[in-house]
């Protein structure tokens, strides 16, 4: 099947996930091979996903872990887990 750009955009996330049917994947790849727009959309979407996974984007608040474990200490010292 010959896909237009819209079809390819609709499938970009599944293409990146690797969950397209082999036939559809081949159609998408055929389109990407000659369409500069769609291959740029693919690259930039992939880049956004790579950036999203980077721990530097959302840093934990300073001393988050320290405060958490200090609060846990208080609770662990005085409470047992509830019975099931």
């Amino acid at each position: 099947m010959v896909l237009n750009c819209r079809h390819v955009w609709d499938r970009i996330s599944d293409y990146i996930e690797g969950t397209l049917d082999p036939q559809v994947r081949a159609d998408v790849e055929r389109h990407l091979a000659h369409c500069e727009i769609c291959s740029a959309v693919l690259d930039s979407t992939r880049n956004v996903i790579i950036l999203m996974a980077d721990d530097r984007v959302f840093e934990l608040p300073v001393d988050y872990s320290k405060r958490l474990h200090a609060r846990l200490d208080l609770v662990l010292a005085s409470e047992s887990p509830e019975p099931a």
């Binding site: 955009w9 970009i12 690259d43 887990p81």
Partner: protein, 218 residues
């Protein structure tokens, strides 16, 4: 070499042993059980409450709740999935208290519809992780995530930031796998549309000629 499956199996065994020990009275081992998930719990909270201080409160409450309810954890789910589901519940009850939930659900409704057209650029070929060394880029990304409709933000944070699988994301959120895929796709395109042009402008100053090819009609 250890396969990812084997590593996951070892982690699960280690967690099961810790949980048994905690329930038998070695309470302080809860620190060890929770430590690998601190970041994930915080990000999950932030996916709903959008404010760092509130997210920290939610994360603490969720972790305390996980401790108190530990005996009800069933080994058939992953501990992380269980913990994330608790965190999402905690965040939602916080939102309900603030009566923001009803407004958000209206936003979500609109966002499920509509046309998703990506930003068309041809100049973003390389992996730009060096860009994250700049705080303004990180701030742009945080803002773009914060501005996503709630239903999209939850999915993209669990799948793309915390790197849960699609199935685990569905399980943690209590929605179908196909809904996860639809929301994930739309969230990614929204982020692409929002971020690709901004990042391109950010880099424009640094890049010399050649890198930034514009389409004639763009």
């Amino acid at each position: 070499m250890t396969t990812p499956q084997a590593a996951a199996g070892m982690r699960q065994e280690r967690e099961a042993a810790l949980i048994t020990a905690i329930l038998a009275g070695e309470r302080e081992k809860f620190h060890d059980l929770i430590r690998p998930y601190e970041r994930q719990v915080y990000l999950t909270a932030l996916s709903l409450v959008k404010n760092e201080t509130e997210a920290e409160d939610v994360a603490q409450e969720a972790i305390l709740r996980a401790y108190r309810k530990l005996a009800s954890f069933r080994g058939d789910a992953k501990f992380s999935t269980w913990l994330i589901a608790i965190t999402l519940n905690e965040a939602r009850s916080k939102l309900r208290q603030e009566k923001r939930a009803s407004l958000d659900s209206l936003d979500n409704h609109d966002a499920e519809e509509g046309d998703y057209t990506p930003a068309v650029l041809t100049d973003w070929r390389e992996i730009p992780s060096e860009a994250l060394e700049r705080e303004e880029i990180r701030a742009l990304m945080r803002q773009a995530v914060a501005d996503l409709p709630d239903a999209f933000r939850e999915v993209v944070i669990l799948r793309d930031m915390e790197e849960l699988s699609v199935n685990e994301t569905a399980e943690a959120l209590g929605i179908s796998i196909s809904l996860v895929k639809v929301r994930l796709h739309r969230a990614r395109l929204l982020l692409q549309k929002r971020l690709a042009p901004l990042l391109r402008i950010e880099w424009k100053g640094k890049a010399k000629s050649g890198m930034l090819r514009r389409l004639p009609w763009f």
